[in-house]
Structure formats: structure tokens, C-alpha cells
């Protein structure tokens, strides 16, 4: 069944109770999906149902509720594996979020077990070993590697960014050298929307035996994946950006890599045997899930991924591309050739997510967002946890609209009308705004 792009959001919107609310007396136009997407009723129901019929701790008790909770938890793991195209559920580790997942890799893969031959995944990285990130990474894919640099003396390199906000892969040969052990890049930018050309990255990394981590925080919401085909080694994403709950995320990693990695956090559920003198650890994935995991949240995430898989992916993508076009065209129209509004991101809709960042000369993003809020339009202003990218463009922030399948033309039009109002109020382009930023 193929939806008409215009029919799509109406049917979808009805599944999201929050989208029916008003703010400041206006209908809500929620365009902050890259920060957190909303949850459909089916996910809310899955969580409530779990909490009221099967709530218990997992893995250790044998009573009925514990069996039910463990089964639900492990079935969600299997659902995540299916969504990612992973071979086996055991390659899926539940974490507290995308940030938690990347930190896990930085510690378990990065610090490793200590002295080894220096090339096995579990042997850790040492002085002079290189990790390649980029200038457009989210802080969650920068800071963990800086901390690893401080702990282990690794060298951190950063791929530059093109003027239209894409990774500049022409620098790969220069930056991926013999000492490169890991290439950790975003699958898609949360600022510019640019989607990474994974094949080129993987090829460059493979040539020197480096592993590849993709930060899928933004990309994962946009449909099922085939990670083995992508050829990456690690993949991280969050529940709350994929129509699921807060407090849960996923680290996927190849089985043989996980098998060789030491644990990160210590606690219950991740052990084989504990004495005060020494402890041996469980097999993956449990080795990496210390303590009581986010059970109901994992169940919700499973339901969310099932919900995404139920969508007509082609129809959703066509719909989002049309809305993105409408937004880009609308911004150009508003600018009237004055060069005040500047979109930072690729113009090619095929190579980007529906995430649109722009600057308005003489208007600060937070002031714009504040005025748009009175129009019921939820945008995000600021550095989007990507300060190095802001530095690259010589700005402190952008205003960002990020779309999900339930958005419609009305949302885009409300944004454009609101922006026109904001520019007027802030006297953009009159020479009288007097604002020193950006």
C-alpha cells in the first residue's frame, strides 16, 4: 500500500497524542524531531502494558512476571537486531542512550584489557594510535575520544567539513594512516542533515585495518538498516530520537569484536562469578549491561522500531523530501535575494535528512526560536552540541527545523510565517536591528 504524500501525515498524526495539543493557544507545530521525536500511541501502550502486566527484574528470577519481563526484554533485543539487519540479537547491547553507547566503545574498545599485541580489538589503544572523528560531530562523538586521549595518549584527528556542511572525504587518504585504529563518524549530521558516504569511509578504514563506528543518533529514525552490508563495526543510537522512550539506546557491534572486549561498567548481571579477590565476566551482550537495565524502555524501543518498520518507507521519504523542498524554497522566498538567510547544509535532497539549519544575519537563533514559539512552532536554536562545526562556519549557532513523518505542509508554512514575523520584530535587514550577532 502506497500513501499519497499528503494523506500520510494526517493518518500518522492521529497516532501521536501530544501532537494534538496547543501551545500559547496555537496548534503545535513540532519541528524539533532531531532533538527528540514524539511517541506513537502503540509505543505508549506497549510501555504501559509492560508496566501493568509484566513488570519485574530480568534475568535472575524464575517467577512468572520475571519470565515475562525477561522474554519481553530479549524480544526487544531481537527486534533491534532485525531493524539493524544484525546477524544475532547478541550483537545488540542496550545502553542508556547513544551517548552511553559511544562512551562504552571509548572505554571497552579504547582502553581495552591492557597490554596485548596492540592490534586486537580487546587490546585497547595506546600512545600514537589514532582515532579519526570530524568537525561536524555531535559533542557525544567528540568528548569521549578527548577523554580517551587524556587516558591513553591517543592522537585525535578530525575530518574537515565542506562549505555546504558535508564531510570532506577528499581528506580521507591524508587522515586515515597506518596508525589509525578507529574512524568514528556520524551517519548523518544533526546540524546540516548531510548523510555520510559510508562506503568510502569503510573502504579507507579497511585499507589500514581500522574499525568504523557510526553515530546513528539522527539516521536511525529513518528506517531499517543493513549494518553488515554497510560494513561498519559499531553503531550507536538512542530510543528517544526513534519514536521510543528516553533512557535507552543501543550499541550494535560485530559479535567477534564484542566477544573480545572487556566490560565497561561493573555490577549485577554482567558477571560470571564474583569473589572479593577476582571476578569473571558473562558473555556479550550481558557483559556490557551492568545492573538492572532499562527494561520497560527497551520494550518501548522495540515497539517503536516495529512501528517504524510498519511504515511505507518510500512514501515517508518522498513526503519528507517534498516538505524539505518546501522549506528550502520558502526560506529562499523570504530572503528575497538579500542574502540574509543562509542555509548550512547540502542542497541535494538525496544526500540529506530533513534537518534544515539556517542563520539569519542580525538575528540570534534563540530570539528567533522564542518568537516562533508564540506561533506554536517548536524549533531549536544554538550550537546543537556541535561547537566545532559552529567554529568552522564562524558562527555561534543556527536555527534548526527537523522533520518527522508526521509533519505536514501546515507545519512548514507556520514556520515560514513565524520567521517572517520574527525577522520583522527583530528588524532584520533594516539596518536598525543593531544586533551584533551572528
Amino acid at each position: 500500500m502506497t500513501f499519497q504524500p499528503e494523506a500520510l501525515p494526517a493518518a500518522l498524526r492521529r497516532q501521536f497524542p501530544l501532537l494534538g495539543r496547543t501551545v500559547h493557544g496555537q496548534p503545535l507545530h513540532y519541528l524539533d524531531n532531531a532533538a527528540t521525536s514524539q511517541m506513537p500511541q502503540s509505543v505508549l501502550d506497549a510501555i504501559a502494558n509492560h508496566e501493568t502486566t509484566a513488570r519485574a527484574n530480568v534475568l535472575r528470577s524464575v517467577h512468572f512476571l520475571a519470565e515475562a519481563a525477561s522474554a519481553a526484554y530479549e524480544e526487544s533485543r531481537a527486534e533491534c537486531a532485525r531493524y539493524l539487519g544484525a546477524g544475532v540479537p547478541e550483537e545488540v547491547v542496550f545502553t542508556s542512550g547513544c551517548t552511553g553507547a559511544i562512551n562504552l566503545v571509548a572505554h571497552s574498545f579504547g582502553d581495552g584489557r591492557g597490554p596485548g599485541d596492540g592490534r586486537g580489538p580487546g587490546d585497547g589503544l595506546g600512545p600514537g594510535d589514532e582515532v579519526l572523528i570530524s568537525e561536524l560531530e555531535h559533542h557525544s562523538n567528540i568528548v569521549p575520544w578527548q577523554m580517551l586521549r587524556q587516558r591513553r595518549g591517543i592522537v585525535l584527528k578530525a575530518l574537515p567539513v565542506t562549505d555546504d556542511g558535508r564531510l570532506d572525504l577528499t581528506h580521507l587518504p591524508r587522515l586515515v594512516g597506518d596508525r589509525c585504529r578507529l574512524v568514528a563518524l556520524t551517519h548523518a549530521s544533526n546540524v546540516t542533515g548531510a548523510v555520510t558516504d559510508v562506503a568510502s569511509v569503510v573502504a579507507a578504514a579497511r585499507a589500514v585495518g581500522a574499525k568504523v563506528l557510526l553515530d546513528g543518533a539522527q539516521y536511525a529514525a529513518h528506517g531499517p538498516l543493513d549494518l553488515p552490508a554497510l560494513g561498519v563495526d559499531f553503531y550507536a543510537f538512542s530510543g528517544h530520537k526513534t519514536f521510543g522512550p528516553n533512557g535507552v539506546g543501543v550499541l550494535w557491534a560485530r559479535g567477534e569484536i564484542l566477544a573480545d572486549m572487556p566490560p565497561f561498567l561493573g555490577g549485577g548481571e554482567m558477571i560470571r562469578r564474583v569473589t572479593i579477590e577476582a571476578t569473571t565476566y558473562a558473555e556479550p551482550p550481558h557483559r556490557f549491561e551492568a545492573g538492572t537495565p532499562p527494561i520497560a524502555q527497551a520494550v518501548g524501543l522495540g515497539a517503536a522500531l516495529r512501528w517504524i518498520r510498519g511504515l511505507d518507507q518510500a512514501a515517508v521519504q518522498a513526503h519528507l523530501a517534498a516538505l524539505t523542498r518546501r522549506l528550502l524554497d520558502g526560506l529562499a522566498a523570504l530572503d528575497r535575494g538579500r542574502g540574509l538567510i543562509r542555509v548550512i547544509g547540502p542542497g541535494d535532497l538525496a544526500a540529506r535528512l530533513p534537518v534544515v539549519s539556517f542563520t539569519v544575519t542580525g538575528a540570534h537563533p534563540h530570539d528567533i526560536c522564542q518568537i516562533l514559539d508564540r506561533h506554536g512552532v517548536a524549533l531549536r536554536g544554538g550550537h546543537h552540541c556541535a561547537q566545532p562545526l559552529m567554529d568552522r562556519f564562524g558562527i555561534t549557532g543556527t536555527t534548526r527545523a527537523s522533520l518527522a513523518c508526521y509533519n505536514d505542509a501546515g507545519d512548514i508554512d507556520a514556520l515560514l510565517a513565524g520567521l517572517e514575523d520574527a525577522m520583522a520584530r527583530l528588524r532584520v535587514g533594516t539596518g536598525a536591528s543593531g544586533l551584533s550577532n551572528p
Binding site: 540570534h364 534563540h366 522564542q370 508564540r374 561547537q387 559552529m390 527583530l426 550577532n437
Partner: protein, 147 residues
């Protein structure tokens, strides 16, 4: 809220903050980042005879922050450090969601920030210049010390 926020008062204040510029030989100079937005203010102070004798600032920030810096630029020179610390306290009190009516201040423009009280995420915008001012005074004229 923001309807009120972006009235002429605040916008005019913000516009007038422009170009206040830096001091050549400040007694103290403080740079503060707003971690939430990445904005930044640098504020210079000079003291003479127990009073603020000159002030400079450079603000890369939103309207609210610029307006707050502008108010300081308008009124601070000539005041004692103690008085300036008291004004910073008034601003903090004004922004408390249930802080009640603002303490009357000799700086009338401060009342223009009242609508910000309802918007927690922007409190820091208004407070940043005042925090920078207090920090600069702390450096140049430690509380209880003689400046």
C-alpha cells in the same frame, strides 16, 4: 511572554549596547561563556575612589543578554561595588518564578526583564552580564577588601 519580550524597550536597549567596546587598561576583565548557547560576554572594569570609574564590554549573544549588558553600561559607572552587587541580586530575585514583585531599583529598565521570569531557559541570558560584572568586581575589588 515573548510577545512582551520582544517589545521596543528590550530591542532598543540591545541595539544601544552595540560598540560599547573594551577598555584599554582595565583593573579586571572577565569572560563568561553561556554553556547553553555558546554565547560569550567579556566585561572590563576600572575602579577609582571606591567606585566604578569605567566599564567596557563585548557581547556576542541574544537580544536579552545584550539588553542586560546595555542596562549595565548605562548605569553602572559611578556606583560602588556594593551597590552593583545588590543590583545583581535584584535581577536574580526578579527572575525567580515565584519571587514576587521586583525589588524597586534605581535602574528602571530592569523591570523590562520581568517577562523573562516565566522562561527559565532564558534566565541565564539576562544574568550573564550581571554575573560577569560581579566576577570582575570580585577580581578588582574583593568583597570586604579595599579597592
Amino acid at each position: 511572554m515573548s510577545e512582551d519580550l520582544y517589545q521596543n524597550d528590550l530591542l532598543r536597549l540591545a541595539a544601544e549596547a552595540r560598540g560599547t567596546g573594551r577598555l584599554q587598561a582595565p583593573d579586571a576583565s572577565v569572560t563568561l561563556d553561556n554553556p547553553l548557547c555558546g554565547d560569550r560576554i567579556t566585561l572590563d572594569v576600572q575602579l577609582a575612589a571606591g567606585r566604578l570609574s569605567a566599564l567596557g564590554h563585548e557581547v556576542r549573544a541574544c537580544v536579552l543578554c545584550q539588553a542586560a549588558a546595555s542596562v549595565i553600561g548605562r548605569h553602572a559607572v559611578g556606583e560602588t561595588p556594593a551597590r552593583l552587587r545588590a543590583v545583581a541580586g535584584e535581577v536574580r530575585a526578579l527572575l525567580k518564578p515565584d519571587g514576587g514583585p521586583a525589588t524597586p531599583s534605581a535602574w528602571p529598565e530592569i523591570a523590562a526583564f520581568q517577562p523573562v521570569a516565566a522562561i527559565r531557559s532564558r534566565h541565564v541570558c539576562v544574568e550573564l552580564p550581571f554575573k560577569a560584572l560581579v566576577a570582575a568586581l570580585d577580581a578588582a575589588a574583593p568583597e570586604g577588601g579595599d579597592a
